[in-house]
Symmetry: C2
Subunit: 297 residues, 2 copies
């Protein structure tokens, strides 16, 4: 039987969206902050990171409902980073996921606070899930440490800072790779490790799945750069050609379009080889890896 | 023997500052984000919240070095909130602790990211301390939950949002009290509870110390409002009279200066009565409560 990725992703998305609706504060006209949090996180993201977390848990064992809570925490961290990256003082973007960005739909102060609140809610969600979970609390402590480290000044935030600096001095290929490993790769690796840890994986399994995630995380970014050249803006819900217009260092700019496509293919092959050490419960991770290079948005 | 508050506070401050220097990333000219984090948190704050955390741990038992790490996490959360509150889109303040605010000393993007990074580092610090600590991991999970809840959309951030809205519609006395309970009170209560939990306090002790903290948290804010009328700007490192100029709802504006002084005294008396249930190891908490109304900055 061929694994149906679309059905799998839809199922993950439904799980995550319904769990997110439980975890998010009730939105009301009196509470602009709650409304802004919901507006941004329920805007219909692809939920790739939570899906990777759930699939990693399945690959080593079983994905329980408390792992869905952890997957939601990851999506909260991802969404907070998008809200803050879009701010006028940062990338100054008006459109995200086909809708006005948070600071455009609300205002700048609300967007800053909504981002702060989602980041904080991520850790609250992890701690609450840990308290209700039958799992060893030490595993949750490890997950909190991994996610905080991946999203902090040694990870995602460091990468975002390098990205801002890169607009002044376009980076060379190795610097670009380091920047992406931090800005988008670290949280993808942490998402997969979170699933592997909470799913009860062995230390070896956690390490190998972390390496798998390192390869697909970089591939994800290379494909993002490719789509910014070749993509369909309607499908993507955002403008294309913006990297070229901003004279940004990208993979297509540094290694050409064909070179970038070849490179992303090689990364996916490497990630798949790591999955050879797992049984057929790793099928979702295998198909997610191939989805990452074939995606159109 | 009379308890020497100044010596106690100095000792707490030294403990916290030296621990913070270990926990913060090394500042370097290449890393603006690390430099901005250190700039803001090592700017010489009073360290009231960490001192309350350490004193609460002492009141129920003993303050170990892993509790100092938790106290530092609290100071990171406090400092992140100051950096973001000072931003142009929020209170637009140029001066903090007698020095240019983070976005003035660096730039807006760096200040947003430095705040994000300190908030994230707080949870990373708690998780790392938990992993190294001999204490039951479940206690740390409880602390992470309490601190995240107190600083998130149900606590500090909700209060900050109400404060922003209050500039349009000045709140009445009960709304003002609710706003302060959220904006500054929640994290003070959480600081004291963190110390009580990690210090090994009983459920009853944790609850009573939480109530103690509720009273001193509100008193702290009433005194802040009083100092904005009567304070010495040089001692305080910031301008005075700014609340009146902005036509803000404050305790002196709503209940007069004498009324505000009487009210803060009553709150402190209530807080002290709760400490009657503790032995003489609660002396630091007792003296901290009286410090809060006698402080000049």
């Amino acid at each position: 039987m061929v694994f149906d990725l679309q059905a799998y992703l839809d199922r993950c998305r439904r799980t995550i969206n319904s769990e997110l609706e439980n975890l998010l504060p009730v939105s009301s006209p009196e509470s602009k902050i709650n409304a802004a949090m919901s507006y941004s996180i329920l805007a219909g993201g692809k939920r790739v990171r939570p899906a990777l977390c759930l699939a990693a848990a399945e690959a080593v064992g079983k994905s329980d409902s408390d792992i869905a809570a952890a997957a939601c925490a990851i999506e909260m961290i991802h969404t907070y980073s998008l809200i803050h990256d879009d701010l006028p003082a940062m990338d100054d973007d008006d459109l995200r996921r086909g809708r006005p960005t948070c600071h455009v739909a609300f205002d700048e102060a609300t967007a800053i606070l909504a981002g702060d609140a989602l980041l904080t809610l991520a850790f609250q969600t992890l701690a609450a899930a840990a308290a209700d979970s039958g799992k060893e609390p030490g595993l949750w402590i490890e997950v909190i440490n991994i996610l905080a480290t991946a999203s902090g000044h040694q990870g995602m935030i460091k990468g975002q800072m390098q990205d801002i600096e890169a607009e002044k001095t376009p980076p060379a290929l190795d610097q670009l790779e380091q920047m992406h490993a931090l800005k988008t790769g670290a949280i993808i690796v942490a998402s997969v490790k979170t699933g592997a840890i909470l799913g009860g994986g062995s230390r070896d399994q956690i390490r190998m799945l972390g390496e798998y995630a390192g390869f697909i995380g970089l591939a994800f970014q290379v494909v993002d750069d490719i789509l910014n050249v070749t993509g369909n803006p309607e499908l993507m819900g955002k403008a294309i050609g913006t990297d070229l217009a901003k004279n940004k260092s990208t993979y297509p700019a540094l290694m050409g379009l064909a070179g970038s496509q070849k490179f992303s293919g090689e990364l996916i092959s490497k990630s798949l080889r790591l999955l050879d050490n797992f049984d057929n419960r790793s099928e979702p991770l295998r198909v997610l890896a191939t989805y990452i290079i074939s995606r159109k948005r």
